[in-house]
Amino acid sequence: MIRFEQVSVSYDGAAAPALRDVELTIPEGELCLLVGPSGVGKSTLLGAVGGLVPHFTGGTLRGRVTVAGRDTRTHRPRELADVVGMVGQDPMAHFVTDTVEDELAYGMESLGLPADTMRRRVEETLDLLGLEALRSRPIATLSGGQRQRVAIGSVLTTHPKVLVLDEPTSALDPAAAEEVLAVLQRLVHDLGTTVLLAEHRLERVVQYADQVILLPAPGAAPVAGDPAEIMARSPVHPPVVGLGRIAGWSPLPLSVRDARRKAAPLRERLADRTPPPVSPAPPAPLVPQQRPRPRLLGRRSMEPSTAPAAETSALVVRHGSLDALRGVDLRVGAGETVALMGRNGAGKSTLLKTLVGMHAPARGSARVGGLEPHRTGPRQLLRRVGLVPQEPRDLLYADTVAAECAAADRDAEAAPGTCRALVSELLPEVADATHPRDLSEGQRLALALAVVLTARPPLLLLDEPTRGLDYAAKARLVEILRVLAAEGHAIVLATHDVELAAELAHRVVILAEGEVVADGPTAEVVVSSPAFAPQVAKVLAPSPWLTVAQVRDALGLVP
């Protein structure tokens, strides 16, 4: 269905080609997963299928890409619209009209299908994707998962033979991601659609794939094959595969179910051991620090303080007539890492924004280091709390990394060079003159983190920090955050990434409809929850093992 013949893509001004000598065949009706670290050309490869590379992005394509027999060199994207459906990373950038039903019809209108066909297909697609109840809703009012489903639906109505998706589940909560994946699976099974998707969160998708294409490094030839075979040697792999590699299972299980069936001996070996703590335990709350703590980058440690880093009591926040938070009680002590979880729209971001004073409480109180954030000036607040927003780019204004750092030093009234030193620690390979927009997602996040840390806030908030990060970038983020926690920073992360929460958090707080529905030590909260349990916990339940590293350490294996 899709053939790449000796395809190389190079962009103007780039030192090396984004893709080199790609030779690929994807047969009809397969769900094909494209994996690899950030920046290896996954998006370029996906774009080449729809003809957006090179017709839209520029650059030079050598070799030949054919989709359903059509050569993308001679067919512009619009002429491939009836065979290829493309859904990009951000569904909002995809929508042309303003309501769900019109959006579903848009592609068909462009193709000039007869009115009765359009009507029938819209109804079919509404049912197929479970969008019936949303048909006349304005798109702007939909949640993330709903938008993603509408975006998929909007390309499905033209009955494309190939569906291309770039990170369809990265921004979604675990349940919404399952929703989208269930739809994709149904398309492959029932309609014979060929699906090609790129995804960083392998733990969500790898078990559904028929074929995995691994792009191991920039410019390296892709390796395609059976998922289990590829996962056995892939540098990026989900925790269940990591566990399987440690335990020496063969064939490698890709789903929790397969792993569980093989895990009985492992569970027995681990039965008499207790899991070591994932992160070093937080200091006892409310005890002033006595001894100097290890320091990151030789900076001064935080002032010892007896007040909790953040405290809310019966906090109510309203957006218009809607209660976004309803009576939230939360207390975060110094050195503690708390993961806020819950579905899209549960109030996680609102809580974080309230703690930096972007929203005023309607009732109840929020205090950060003893201050009320919405009554505190930005300058003063900067020293108490720092937030890395969902889109780290929002924090960056300057056009070079060096200028950004200088501005951060000025904002925080820190010694010149403070921020740059932090950046060098977090991102050793980044040059001063780089434009922040040219950084990868992970690098941009690290830069924003450095900017925020320049003011040394005792409380650090991160909103969805792992969106778009590959496993390597995520591992580095985990290391950085652990060091910060050990230094006494209180950290609150709002995240959908259960694996991240399992690796990092001392405590997990689950929000639903603006209320705290669970609050407790990570192991207790996540192990018992089907939606929020990490894969290792699911495989090894009922014992509270959370991460591959724990199991490895307990078995005395060397990484």
Binding site: L80, Y106, E109, L111, E132, S136, R137, G145, D411
Partner: protein
């Protein structure tokens, strides 16, 4: 549940515009303040009865304020600059500013007469009523759907307008987000400076988004064209260009002192040629329309009520000019002429004829409420799959028969909209 009920039945946008323009024509035919006030009340009543909760529906208030501003400005000018209307009832006398010789004919200050004020008031009221009629059309008709009714040849221009309309709110949201983010850098997030400093990032973001949108539109088939014979293309260009020239020349002929004879026929011929060109040009476009708005009996009646009001007022203008134009000199109390007033009431018809807008309280309900099954309840009790009849199974669509997919269906049990209770 039949699918037709799900999309709230809307009156064709064109019908609303014809109705509103009819009222506006009627307003332009009279200066009687009582009639004008009645007209504004009629338009206001229909808007109040039939406007939806859509964003554009809120524009009516803005038009009302604009109308008031027009009246105020006109009166202020009448007071300051005087009025050419001769009058005997002096209300007050302002000190007159002596102006140089070359500005003769212009007066600043001086005597303000009641006649002048009343004349200015009537005049301003007429203009305000016109504006309010246009505002009513704006509030009642969905602009996106109006654009959809454009002929195929103008479709691409229509899409550009629709995209621009969805773009502006995004831009505002971006500005708000970035201003809020300034707080995180310890910079003030209020004030003009904050607004200016986020300007560049906002524009960058907007540019990136437009490129992404263009890519998405292209890969969804925007701009696909059909092969059209060369002769047809040339004829299209000739007809459109010639038609437009005809329209220009005809309009000139009508407006100029001489040439009224050839003006009208030329204008008509030009319009016809341009329309034929547009129609022929539509052949190049392969697109079709999804659920175009139907023009049915209600549309005829609504449009007819507007046109009827206009026609009757024009007739009334020739029959009883005195009643429609109460004189300011000498001052007389305006009287409400009975039968022109009665004709205005025809304009109320849409308040009863047009379909009532759905009252959806939860329309802008947040995403959080869209999915109603909290997934963490499962910890304490077995997951309660709501035993509902999934809508998918009652249909007979080929792909969807009896394929219950638990994750998808369980989480999309519709409790999202009030309108659904109709099911």
């Amino acid at each position: 549940m039949s699918a037709g009920q799900a999309r709230p039945r809307e009156l064709h946008a064109g019908a609303w515009w014809i109705w509103a323009l009819g009222l506006a024509t009627a307003a332009s035919r009279t200066t009687n303040p009582l009639l004008l006030c009645l007209l504004v009340a009629v338009a206001g009543y229909v808007v109040a009865a039939r406007r939806t909760e859509a964003p554009w529906a809120r524009s009516y208030g803005a038009f009302l304020r604009l109308g008031l501003a027009v009246i105020v400005i006109r009166l202020v000018f009448a007071v300051l600059l005087g009025s050419p209307i001769p009058g005997t009832h002096t209300v007050l006398t302002l000190p007159e500013v002596p102006l140089p010789d070359w500005a003769r004919g212009v007066r600043l200050g001086g005597r303000v007469t009641a006649e002048g004020l009343v004349f200015a008031l009537y005049d301003a009221l007429k203009l305000a009523a016109l504006l309010i009629c246009v505002g009513a059309a704006n509030a009642l008709a969905n602009p996106a759907r109006l654009l959809k009714s454009l002929p195929g040849a103008l479709y691409e221009a229509g899409v550009a307008v629709v995209v621009a309309m969805t773009f502006a709110p995004n831009l505002v949201a971006d500005v708000q987000r970035l201003r809020a983010a300034r707080r995180l850098r310890g910079r003030p997030d209020r004030g003009l400076k904050a607004l200016l400093q986020v300007g560049l990032p906002v524009l960058e973001g907007a540019l990136e988004r437009s490129v992404a949108l263009a890519a998405a539109m292209d890969s969804r088939g925007y701009g696909r064209t059909a092969q059209v014979p060369r002769a047809v293309r040339h004829t299209t260009s000739a007809l459109t260009l010639g038609g437009l020239l005809g329209v220009c020349a005809g309009t000139y002929g009508l407006l100029a002192d001489q040439g009224a004879g050839y003006g009208m026929p030329l204008l008509l011929a030009g319009v016809l040629a341009a329309l034929a060109g547009l129609r022929l040009g539509g052949r190049r476009s392969v697109r079709t329309r999804y659920r175009p708005d139907a023009w049915g009996l209600r549309e005829w009646l609504v449009a007819g009520s507007g046109a009827g009001v206009a026609a009757l007022m024009i007739v009334a203008g020739s029959q009883a000019p005195g009643a429609l134009h109460p004189s300011a000199v000498p001052l007389t109390a305006p009287r409400l002429p009975l039968w022109p007033a009665a004709t205005l009431l025809i304009g109320l018809a849409p308040a009863f004829l047009a379909p009532a807008p759905p009252r959806t309280r939860g329309r802008t309900a947040p995403p959080a409420q869209a999915r109603t099954q909290p997934h963490n309840e499962a910890r304490t009790e077995p997951r309660t799959q709501a035993p509902t009849e999934p809508p998918a199974q009652t249909r007979t669509h080929p792909h969807t028969e009896a394929r219950a997919h638990p994750p998808t269906q369980a989480r999309t049990q519709p409790r999202t909209q009030k309108g659904d209770s109709a099911r």
